[in-house]
């Protein structure tokens, strides 16, 4: 009896010891995103990406056992709410923040985090931006605490216009976007780069509409068609792209679409058969990317949630965070930020990706993909439409890299 008690005491003590090791490295990410409101559908879907990425690439699936826990906080897409939630997260001792939907929100978060870190040494916060791609964030407004895992507007438009340049039959382009920092940047860069690369292409329209407010895009589509546009370039995302494409299909628009986010939840359904061979997407990955290394993540996610997986940036954010914690041997923000800056890895296409230290922008490959009937190169269709994306151009990281004007302060 005595012996049994002794044995169990030892077992308990050992359990504590091992348990202590296993739980020491738990990192929380405050996922501040619009989880309700007009863009709530996209936010909810991105949250699943993060949760799934944490499941697949941290905890028992990471060699070191570093576990990432995602704490969802609903900002309703509003910058003010996001600020209040950032305060809540820092008060709760969370050191890593992630957000992506809306460069307007990301902008205020970057400012607030800069101030917070200045005023609270020892309690710094790092921002893992997975989708807000205003290029200012890695140029004029660059911050040592901000890491962007998506490609910037400048990178995407550079790749897109390089492809459009070779489309000889393209004579006129209409640019339409959401009226906030991101949409304005898309319109500015498209106009600039097209003028340089193909001065003969006419920009027949450059339109900005209110973000998330327009429910009836029919008048905009009328305008596009009246301008005789061969193609539409748009950075619209979520319902703003769904409704635009739906209205274009209803009006029988036959021109091409060059988009950033045609693969985002709900959009493939809206594109449907009517968009075949006309709708394009510029992105850092797509499900039928020939060089894809993460097919099991794509299929696993689809199986688990019955939704499409497309935000590789969520996977990369989690992987860099885990690797950063491992390298820094700490879960504090400053050493982890120093470890992530300049870190190199293999990307979703097996390419060498690098979190460039000089501006906090992930250097990665880019794809231009076209909406095509499933079969052959199109292994996976999207949202059961029978259509999926096919690579029409692949750009290695070196080809899509952009200069930065950032003068990075010390981390």
């Amino acid at each position: 009896m005595k012996r049994a008690i002794q044995m169990s005491a030892i077992a308990v003590a050992m359990g504590f010891a091992f348990g202590g090791v296993a739980h020491a490295q738990n990192v929380k990410i405050a996922f501040i995103e619009g989880l309700s409101g007009p863009f709530g559908g996209v936010g909810q879907n991105q949250l699943k990406h993060f949760q799934y990425a944490a499941e697949r690439f941290s905890g028992k699936n990471a060699n070191s056992g570093v576990n990432v826990e995602v704490v969802p906080l609903d900002s309703k897409g509003s910058p003010q709410e996001a600020l209040a939630l950032l305060k809540k997260a820092t008060d709760d001792g969370i050191r890593f923040v992630s957000q992506g939907n809306g460069s307007n929100v990301a902008g205020v978060l970057i400012d607030a985090i800069n101030k917070h870190n200045e005023r609270n040494p020892g309690k710094e916060v790092v921002f893992l931006n997975y989708a807000a791609i205003d290029p200012d964030f890695t140029n004029s407004k660059c911050s040592p605490w901000h890491f962007r895992f998506d490609a910037g507007v400048d990178m995407k438009i550079e790749g897109l216009t390089n492809y459009m340049k070779d489309q000889k039959d393209l004579k006129s382009v209409y640019v339409i976007g959401q009226n906030y920092s991101f949409g304005q940047q898309v319109s500015k860069f498209t106009e600039e780069m097209l003028k340089k690369k193909r001065p003969d292409i006419k920009i027949v329209g450059n339109e900005l509409h209110p973000l998330g407010q327009v429910k009836d895009f029919a008048p905009y589509v009328q305008k596009i068609m009246a301008a005789n546009a061969d193609a539409v370039v748009t950075g619209n995302w979520g319902p703003d792209l769904v409704l635009l494409i739906r209205a274009a299909n209803a009006a029988g628009f036959k021109g091409r679409f060059y988009t950033f986010y045609a693969g985002v939840i709900g959009t493939p359904t809206a594109v449907g058969a009517a968009g075949a061979d006309r709708v394009h997407m510029v992105s850092y990955w797509h499900p039928n990317a020939e060089l894809s290394q993460i097919e099991s993540v794509y299929t696993g996610f689809k199986q688990k949630f019955n939704e499409e997986f497309y935000t590789v940036a969520a996977v990369n954010a989690v992987r860099f965070l885990v690797a950063g914690v491992e390298k820094a041997k700490s879960t504090e923000a400053v050493p982890v930020a120093r470890a992530i800056a300049g870190m190199k890895m293999k990307g979703a296409s097996g390419e060498d990706i690098e979190m460039r230290a000089s501006d906090g922008a992930l250097q990665q490959a880019m794809y231009i993909a076209q909406w095509t009937k499933a079969g052959g190169a199109v292994k996976f269709d999207q949202e059961n439409t029978g259509f999926g994306f096919k690579t029409v151009r692949y750009l290695e990281p070196a080809m899509s890299t952009m200069q930065t004007s950032c003068k990075m302060p010390k981390r």
Binding site: G40, K215, P219, Q222, V242, G252
Partner: protein, 310 residues
């Protein structure tokens, strides 16, 4: 084509505001929850059409909304009626939040997939290159049918006569042996049914989401103020006006900068106030209805066809 788009949008607005203005002229109370009934119509139709098909939804959803509206009038609004207009207004205001939360609890905080029926997604006809979707035509047809029915009921039937009498002289009508409270309940339910019908049709033409009540709520108040409080004809004119105005404004790239440049002035990015001057009419299109509201209240407070002078 723009005309047709504008008219179809305007008619949808009319379907919405007709019920609101009817209720207002009858009870003298603005129903703040009216747009919420529009949202309920869309969600009910989504639910019913996911079980059976769109046409069943078209029939059942407005009836469900009418039932809810009738119950609300009978058990809540009628009780607050004796306390005056302000409590009535507040009750409907509160109801709009309750409906919003309930909708979010049941159907979630994001948009639901409520598609246009496949038989209606084809094109009706072509103008130059652009096609006019059959569903838009259907929207117009339903609105016009509703307009005709409403007119016939109000002007040609006995019930219409009683309603009109109860509008202006409720006490006398009651003295003549008519059940005025019941007439109120019927009108309220019918108004809600119209909003529900608009929801069934607007929900899949545009988008079905918890924010849809808020986004049309403001516009329909503009419609009834501009049209004249309590005037059906005014609401029709104002709806069409706003529908057309928004559609055409989107198509116009006029700006102050462009106008001044035509007058021979040199406008560049360095000109003071350039960011304001370069604003195009198409960019300000969404605020035009509210501008119209302000102008109308200043110039003609009773609205286009309003008769009330108080």
């Amino acid at each position: 084509m723009s005309v047709l788009n504008g008219v179809s949008y305007g008619l949808l607005l009319f379907m919405l505001s007709a019920g609101l203005t009817l209720i207002f002229s009858m009870m003298g109370v603005l129903n703040f929850a009216h747009a919420s009934f529009y949202m309920l119509g869309a969600y009910f139709a989504y639910q019913v059409s996911s079980w059976s098909n769109f046409w069943v939804g078209l029939l059942i959803a407005p009836i469900l909304v009418a039932l809810l509206g009738g119950l609300f009038e009978r058990y809540v609004l009628r009780k607050t009626h004796k306390f005056g207009h302000v409590p009535e207004l507040l009750v409907t205001f509160g109801l709009s939040f309750v409906i919003l939360e309930i909708v979010q609890l049941i159907w979630g905080r994001t948009s639901v997939d409520y598609p246009v029926p496949p038989s209606m997604s084809g094109s009706l006809f072509k103008v130059f290159d652009s096609t006019f979707q059959m569903y838009r035509g259907f929207m117009m047809l339903v609105a016009i049918l509703m307009l005709v029915c409403l007119f016939l009921i109000l002007k040609k039937t006995r019930i219409g006569l009683v309603i009109q009498a109860a509008l202006t002289h409720p006490d006398t009508t009651e003295a003549l042996g008519h059940n005025v409270p019941r007439v109120f309940a019927i009108v309220f339910a019918a108004g809600c049914a119209l909003a529900g019908l608009a929801g069934v049709i607007g929900g899949n033409a545009f988008i079905t989401e918890p924010g849809m009540a808020q986004s049309v709520g403001a516009i329909i108040f503009v419609v009834i103020v501009v049209g004249g409080m309590g005037s059906l004809a005014g609401a029709l004119v104002a709806s069409l006006l706003i529908g057309l105005m928004q559609t055409f404004a989107v198509g116009l790239d006029w700006s102050f900068a462009g106008g001044l440049a035509r007058l021979g002035m040199d406008i560049t990015a360095e000109t003071p106030g350039y960011s304001l001057l370069k604003l195009k009419l198409s960019q300000v299109a969404p605020i035009l209805p509210f501008l119209l509201l302000v102008v109308m209240l200043v110039v003609r407070p009773k609205g286009i066809m309003g008769t009330r002078d108080d």
